[in-house]
Symmetry: C2
Subunit: 95 residues, 2 copies
């Protein structure tokens, strides 16, 4: 029979297995292309009427980061620089 003096650490017979649970950012969230625009809508669709354009050519955003979405404000350049991506706008010409 083992007697244990008060104050002595008890031997841990089998150290309990320790699991470390690590959660990466949810893949689904990480895969969102659109992080901020009209997230309350099920699908963001915009309409452009070309003949109503004042300018002959208007750039439309495809990076989902423009502060003037659906128009392009050149923020794609920052996104490309930060991530190494290569996205750019759609240029809509009247004719």
């Amino acid at each position: 029979m083992n007697m244990v003096k008060a104050g002595t650490l008890l031997p841990s017979r089998a150290a309990p297995a320790r699991f470390v649970v690590v959660r990466a950012e949810a893949p689904a969230q990480a895969a969102h292309i659109n992080k901020t625009i009209k997230k309350e809508e099920a699908k963001v669709v915009d309409v452009c009427v070309a003949t109503a354009q004042e300018q002959k050519q208007v750039p439309y955003c495809r990076c989902w980061k423009s502060s003037t979405f659906p128009l392009c404000d050149a923020t794609h350049a920052q996104h490309n620089k930060e991530t190494g991506d290569n996205v750019g706008p759609l240029l809509v010409k009247k004719e």
Copy 2:
């Protein structure tokens, strides 16, 4: 003085700290919006001439997953379903 009987597990005074290093997918790569289209180009820009359209309205892709890019082939629906995102095309109308 503590005597320890052979076969007895020694108390682990201070369990050595254990570090688990976990690397997520490189943030930069994960943040690419465009995974496949013209990756050899520094920036993918497309031009749409509205008056040259046969149809009155043509959907242009903004999810970068269409097999008919720059046109939308509805693949955005699959992307939205898989990720919970809410992206959709730009509809370009002639007038």
